[in-house]
């Protein structure tokens, strides 16, 4: 094994380390997406990430920060709008998801000085990952994992039954906000890996795969982390040997793993 500094000089190793870092947070967050049926919500937040890129470029701040800010803003907007029951949640999410994506694309086209690799934002550009990106990924992952560990019992209880959790005195609204904050962070750091259009896949597929093998919520989280890491490793290998795009290759690996597990493992009697 070469010393760490020269490892980070190599784009492939940087990609692998970055991808593994994202898989680490995508695992637990993905479980919450699956448990709380938030797939469409995650998609909406991810779509708004492009608007974050535009904002970050415009203000000349770190793009991850721009993305996180826009995602948090949209998450809050969703909370406020969903109180008004005149539109069904999925309609509301559909409107916001695609409008955010379109506004992001239009805004970016108005910035002639900026030469942007749009494909990179839509499908990820893992092989172009920099040391700064790595710092953002692991910084973000550390914050998210620490928050998850701290709020775990409350988050789990309010996921199982929100009213029961509330009656028992848990601050369910604040927990939900905390979860949204974590989502925004994960989307901001995961975007570099798989891009706007595939983030939800990286969240859901390993978690869904883990469900088949897990008998407790904590084990499901652990298995989702491992599954995500295998997908990252597999996807990068695919990309290395067949020169396929890295982000989609990771999602394809995750999907193959999902098929394999559901094909081989019968439904658990326990859990």
């Amino acid at each position: 094994m070469p010393p760490i500094d020269s490892v980070l000089d190599d784009f492939f190793w940087r990609a692998l380390i970055g991808g593994l870092g994202v898989a680490l947070v995508a695992g637990p967050l993905g479980c919450f997406v699956v448990w709380r049926r938030m797939a469409y919500f995650g998609d909406t937040l991810a779509h708004s990430a492009l608007l974050g890129v535009a904002l970050g470029t415009l203000l000349q701040i770190q793009l991850s920060l721009g993305i996180a800010v826009v995602c948090i803003g949209l998450a809050l907007l969703l909370v406020i709008l969903s109180r008004n029951r005149s539109l069904a949640t999925d309609t509301l999410l559909g409107i916001l998801a695609h409008s955010a994506l379109a506004i992001g694309l239009v805004t970016l086209s108005f910035m002639p000085d900026v030469r942007l690799d749009l494909t990179g934002y839509l499908f990820g550009d893992l092989l172009a990952i920099s040391r700064t990106d790595l710092a953002w990924i692991y910084g973000g992952a550390a914050v998210v994992l620490a928050l998850l560990g701290w709020l775990w019992r409350g988050l789990l209880m309010s996921t199982i039954h929100e009213e029961l959790a509330k009656a028992e005195g848990l601050p369910v609204e604040r927990l939900r906000l905390g979860l949204m904050l974590m989502f925004s962070l994960v989307i901001a750091v995961a975007m570099k890996i798989v891009g706007v259009l595939l983030i939800t896949a990286l969240l859901i597929i390993p978690a869904a795969t883990a469900r088949r093998l897990a008998s407790s919520p904590e084990r499901m989280v652990g298995l989702a982390m491992i599954g995500g890491m295998i997908a990252v490793g597999g996807g990068l290998s695919l990309s290395w040997f067949f020169d396929s795009p890295a982000g989609p290759s990771i999602v394809v690996s995750a999907f193959l793993l999902f098929l394999l597990v559901y094909g081989l493992v019968r439904e658990q009697r326990h859990g």
């Binding site: 699956v34 709380r36 199982i160 009213e163 009656a167 869904a208 919520p217 859990g271």
Partner: protein
């Protein structure tokens, strides 16, 4: 004088311009078992959600004893099948020790399900696990929304008996919703008959003769409930009070009724 756990003072809930709970006056004290009965859409669930703090009220006041610990057994609990969960883990989420969790499950007679998946329980087993979970938290007030739903007839009687026992051993107050008038009349201390507003309230023996009760449920039901109590002493009830219709706290129906 028993300790009042929750007092509802002229509480109303209006949702979307429609009155769901209308000027309700109610006190739940330690040691009480109060059953809320009434037709569908009478606001029973809304009322207990207001007591739990899950439903904001439009007017009136709810006073809870400071530090009041609530145990809640919800009506329909749907466990998301994507979330793997055993009874053991579900109980442990209360923060109680494994020994206490097992003891609580023992009391509701479902200890043998400790290691089972929560997704494979029958309706009655789920209710007993939920009650165990509520009582492991040592509640001051136990709130149950149709605890006997999905439980067969023999199981229902046992369930009400269990609730009485828990009231005695925990020294807590109980408020629950029920549909089964016969069991309610047999197993409850006090009945609150709700149809948005409180139609009548009092001891079961009194209430079955109450004109408001008869009006709400019909002569046939009222008579069958009254017949069910024929073994009771009609001059003095089990509480030692003289049974007299005039003593029930009956509100006057609005002209529209």
């Amino acid at each position: 004088m028993t300790e009042a756990l929750v007092t509802l003072d002229d509480v109303s809930v209006t949702l979307g311009g429609q009155s769901i709970v209308d000027h309700v006056q109610l006190t739940v004290s330690r040691g009480d078992i109060i059953t809320v009965i009434g037709p569908n859409g009478a606001g029973k669930t809304t009322l207990i959600k207001a007591i739990l703090g899950l439903q904001s009220i439009s007017s009136g006041r709810i006073r809870r004893t400071p530090g009041l610990r609530l145990g809640y057994v919800p009506q329909h609990i749907h466990f998301q099948p994507t979330l793997p969960l055993t009874v053991k883990r579900f109980m442990a989420l209360t923060g109680a020790s494994p020994a206490n969790c097992r003891a609580a499950l023992e009391r509701t007679a479902v200890n043998h399900l400790y290691e089972s998946s929560i997704h494979h329980l029958s309706g009655g087993e789920t209710q007993r696990v939920l009650i165990a979970r509520a009582l492991v938290r040592q509640p001051d007030l136990l709130v149950l929304d149709e605890p006997a739903q999905g439980v067969d007839v023999n199981g229902q009687a046992e369930l009400y008996e269990l609730i009485r026992e828990l009231r005695d051993s925990l020294d807590c107050g109980v408020i629950m919703i029920s549909h089964d008038l016969h069991l309610v009349m047999a197993a409850t201390d006090k009945v609150l008959c709700l149809n948005q507003h409180v139609c009548c309230s009092g001891y079961p023996e009194q209430i079955s003769h109450d004109p408001a009760f008869v009006e709400l449920f019909g002569r046939h039901v009222a008579d069958s409930v009254a017949i069910y109590h024929h073994h009771h002493n009609h001059d003095h009830n089990l509480h030692g009070d003289v049974v007299d219709n005039a003593q029930t706290e009956t509100c006057h129906h609005h002209a529209s009724h």
